[in-house]
């Protein structure tokens, strides 16, 4: 389990009052954890601030709406953590 996932899981647990042990790498933020759009704004805010990035939520949403990506690619937590790692790496490059 990556350090990024642990950080994201802790953010979700604190923001949404979800027991930490119920948050798994394979959890889908919406389908499995029941996180709604307002709570996800809080999570995105905390992730942006913690990692010093700006998650491209509008781009991701557009890709899903246009059928060019699935929600699993961005909202399954291990995938989200990987996207975050990529954004952090891109910022450092």
């Amino acid at each position: 389990m990556s350090a990024t996932f642990d950080t994201v899981a802790n953010i979700i647990s604190e923001t949404c009052d979800i027991p930490r042990d119920k948050i798994k790498p394979e959890s889908h933020a919406i389908n499995d954890l029941g996180i709604d759009s307002l709570d996800f704004l809080d999570i995105a805010f905390a992730i942006d601030k913690t990692f010093g990035i700006k998650m491209p939520l509008e781009q991701w949403t557009q890709e899903v709406n246009e059928g060019r990506a699935t929600t699993e690619q961005y909202f399954v937590l291990q995938n989200l953590s990987q996207r975050i790692d990529e954004l952090v790496a891109a910022k450092k490059a």
Binding site: L41, F45, L57, E58, Q59
Partner: protein
């Protein structure tokens, strides 16, 4: 302030896109039907309208920073505190700053002062939504111009 029309910002004093701050003026009217009920014999500016005033100042700031890219719609208030009561006829200063500008959302810190005294403050989250049509945007810009919004100072304008 035109309370019944929810037009709560009278004038934009400064919109600093580099510092990502805005300062506005809002004069509470001496007469309003709202004071008939809030409260009979003890007229006070409703706290929810003070919150909305902070939200509107924040909204103009976000519009300035995004060059009217979308409509900032209220999503959440956090740590909102109403610290003193406001009577009809009070001149208010409304300040807001960007705390975080995310993708499709923004978070501001806003406050209202009466002179030097802090009246209320909050952290406010907005979703940025597409404008419903061109007429809406045209009207919004007309309202902006009427309160001194410096169109030329918009971040991308």
């Amino acid at each position: 302030m035109q309370l019944e029309y929810f037009r709560l910002i009278d004038r934009i004093v400064t919109l600093d896109t580099a510092a990502r701050t805005i300062q506005c003026e809002a004069d509470v009217p001496t007469q309003s039907t709202i004071f008939d009920g809030h409260f009979p014999g003890m007229p006070l500016m409703p706290g929810v309208l003070l919150m909305e005033t902070m939200a509107q100042a924040s909204g103009w700031l976000i519009l300035g920073l995004t060059n009217f890219a979308g409509m900032p719609l209220l999503a959440a208030f956090k740590e909102a505190k109403l610290r003193s009561f406001i009577a009809p006829g009070t001149a208010l200063i409304v300040n807001a700053s960007i705390h975080h500008q995310g993708s499709g959302f923004a978070v501001t810190h806003a406050e209202i002062r009466r002179g030097e005294r802090l009246v209320c403050n909050a952290e406010i989250t907005f979703r940025l939504m597409p404008f419903p049509n061109d007429a809406f945007l045209t009207n919004l810009k007309a309202v902006a111009a009427s309160i001194g919004f410096p169109i030329e100072a918009s971040a991308d304008g």
